[in-house]
Symmetry: C2
Subunit: 74 residues, 2 copies
DNA sequence: ATGTGACTTGGAGTCCGTG
DNA sequence: ACACGGACTCCAAGTCACA
C-alpha cells in the first residue's frame, strides 16, 4: 500500500542501479538473467515498484550480491 | 512464482521468529503495531508467504531492527 | 496465543508498444 | 539502452472461521 514515492523504495532503487552499473550490466541483460520483465527492473530502479523478496533475491543473485546489499540505507 | 517451501522464505521466517521472540513479543502484538493481520505474520514466519519489501520494512521497524536483519542467511 | 484453509481484491509483475 | 504508458494476468495482501 502507498507504493509511489516511498523513501524505502527510492533507496533500494538507487542501490540496485549503483550495483548494476558497477558490474557493467544493462537493465535488459539483468532482467533476462533474473527471468523478470525488463520494464519491471526499470520500475524498481526508479522506486515506483514494491517488489517481493523473492524478486529481490533473484536480482541480487544475478548481481553476485545479497539482499542486504540492496536494502542498505533503509 | 514457486512460492511454497522456498528456502529463502523459510530463512526469513526463522529470522523473524527469532528476533520477535527475542524481543518478548507475540505475533498478535507485533501485527497490531505493524498494522498487518496476525495470520499474515504467522504465514511469513512459516515461510509460506512472499512479502514485499514494504511489508518487511514495517515489521522490521516495529522490532527495532532493519530489513537486513531479516534477510541474513539468504 | 498460533496454525491453517479458503476466500476476495488490489497491486505485483508481464507484454505490447513509443520516443 | 532506458523511461514511460496502456492493457493485461496472476499472486501478494488482507480477512475470516475454526482447530
Amino acid at each position: 500500500m502507498t507504493s509511489s514515492l516511498d523513501p524505502t523504495l527510492q533507496t533500494i532503487g538507487k542501490n540496485l542501479r549503483r550495483i548494476r552499473v558497477a558490474s557493467g550490466r544493462s537493465q535488459e541483460g539483468l532482467a533476462l538473467d533474473a527471468a523478470i520483465d525488463r520494464t519491471y527492473v526499470s520500475q524498481i530502479e526508479r522506486g515506483i515498484a514494491n517488489p517481493s523478496i523473492l524478486v529481490l533475491k533473484k536480482i541480487a543473485s544475478c548481481l553476485d550480491a545479497n539482499v542486504s546489499d540492496l536494502v542498505v540505507g533503509t
